[in-house]
Amino acid sequence: MNRIVNKQYLSENVVRMEIEAPLIARSRKPGNFIILRIGEKGERIPLTIADSDITNGTISIIVQNVGVSSKKLCTLEIGDEVTDLVGPLGKPTNVHKVGTILAMGGGVGIAPLFPIVKAFKQAGNRVVTVLAARSKDLLILEDEMREWSDEVVVMTDDGSYGEKGLITAGAERVIQNEKIDECIAIGPAVMMKFAAMLTKKYEIPTQASLNSIMVDGTGMCGACRVTVGGKTKFTCIDGPEFNAHEIDFDEMLMRLQAYVKEEKDAQAEQQ
């Protein structure tokens, strides 16, 4: 069960894995995620389903090595099994034909963005994608994105590839050049916050996919709560995508810090 059948490094710290999960492969839709656990002492971590292959009965995940659990996952090899894997979770993206979509992906957020870009393209939209990374070697999925986008703009913080600058600079130029009907932004919370401010200025409907802290992923614990439009929502069942103009990003940024100290202690222990 949950056997890893393929593994590939997309950058130094980002791994793509293909895992046997025939039921999930069949039922998942773009925007869905899974929760997995490595080992009997592992924690449950959420990861977006980047792609699936129904004939082979596999799903692909793309994970960035940022901490204890993602590291454990990244060290697994082909043939190893993931202890627990559950999904598909969350509401799927509302994929429809609207015209032109601006997709913004930052860092490892490019991974969850990929299935959405693909779906919007398949639904007959024009898709303009802006990708951002700190530097060239941290940029992932560029070729895949080019395959499914009509246009791709790449931004890097250090200018080592594409254009130097933040994702919002690239996005604003796209918005000024052509009529954008809808936006979607996925990446670090700060990036999404600024992307939302930008598209609000131009009054373009925008969705953001949140990477809240989760435990069960089924609506049972409330760890993943966020404030959207003044109301408390649970990211795992009401999301992960919400109207970006209504999300309280400052609260979300604060909540992501909840376990920073504990995680540092855990990492220290492993060393």
């Binding site: 449950r44 709560r225 995680e263």
Partner: protein
Amino acid sequence: MTVNTDYLKEQRGQEWRVELRKKIKNKDRLTIERVKMPEMDPMERIKYQDKEVNLGLTLDAAMREASRCMDCANPTCIEGCPVSINIPKFVKNIERGEILDAASTLKETSALPAVCGRVCPQEKQCEARCFYVEKMKKDPVAIGYLERFAADYERESGSMSIPNVEDANGVKVATIGSGPAALSFAGDMVKLGYDVTVFEALHEIGGVLKYGIPEFRLPNSIVDVELDNLRKMGVKFETNFVVGRTASVEDLEEQGFKAFFVGSGAGLPRFMNIPGENYNGIMSSNEYLTRVNLMNAADDSYDTPVLKGKNVAVIGGGNTAMDSVRTAKRLGAERAMIIYRRSLEEMPARVEEVKHAMEEGIEFINLHNPVEYFANENGRVNKMKVQRMELGEPDASGRRRPVALDEYVELDVDLVVVAVGVSPNPLIPSCMPDLEVSRWGTIEVNEDKMQTSIPQLFAGGDIVRGGATVILAMGDGRKAAESMHGFLKEKYNL
């Protein structure tokens, strides 16, 4: 559940019961004092999250307690038990030293006696209706302790009986969820020869028994033994499977499942929607208890973290609140407080849990209700404002309604656990549009049959009741099994 009085009478007339009644005069039975449960010392037990507080009765103490029971001609205690356990029969078996017979009496009606003996609110159920309470104004027979004793004795004797299973009939049925409702349903159906699969969303079987109720009250090992028995009887378990997501009910029907029991519980935590409630360090009791009980967060060798607090406030007065506050104490809180808007008398928690909590140094700040939280510059809660309340007229539940006063107090807190109730898990209703649900989101069933508006779908436990007890959930599971059996027999000519 209806009590079969003829059957009770016939059993009561058995020679050994008659003899036993004659052995001690009722007058003398009445003078025996109710047994005290041996407990771990409060100061010692708060060092452990996983050591059970109640140590269990000795054989002598159990037999003596059992001899208090009058073996009443009209055993009202049975009417107080949601699954109508034949209480005098099991108690008298203990009195005569036939503990294994006592255990099998329990199993005639209850799938998890070791669990119910520990967690039933006996003081509101069987024991409330005991002759001693109703007629003598004395302490009731300790039915719960005795139930636990018999079940533990059987388990520890190593001669646990696996109930007989009828020949397989090849009909596949499934449960959605693996809490007490689903488990008791599964046990009954497998006995009838069905091919039963339990589907559970989490990575562990047991529902609230595993992720909610802490080990100091209900050790996991006890639940595991029961699960093992079900496994030996042929029940199949599928964890990490969210019905409605991983596969739909229709998908499962295509795979040959003929009928389903929904026992998906009341998983959705409620918050109070007051300012500051999303600060770090404020979480639902479900999150807190899941991190500690299911994910072992208190043990550093596990990856899941849990925030610890020096000054911990737990909001609410139910079992969940008691479990959370006592957990906080065990994780090192200096002040562990219950903030409850009514008074001690209205608390819905089991009386024993309140008593244990008090012994452990939990502070009870009753007649107070939180109105706002404050945080430090990192967004971690550091203060809360609570409003004083007084009791007014009784409300629909018969409890006196709390009325807010214009008086406020501020408390220093660094961890807050909100335990003000749960709502029904919306997942199954949301993916089955034909399923009738109430205004509160509970699944509507025909009460005698536990059948929903979709004929092959039965339901019970918290998803139907909106939050109840382990034993009520189990009673629903049994009732559903019986009526599903009738439904399938007719439909498929079994």
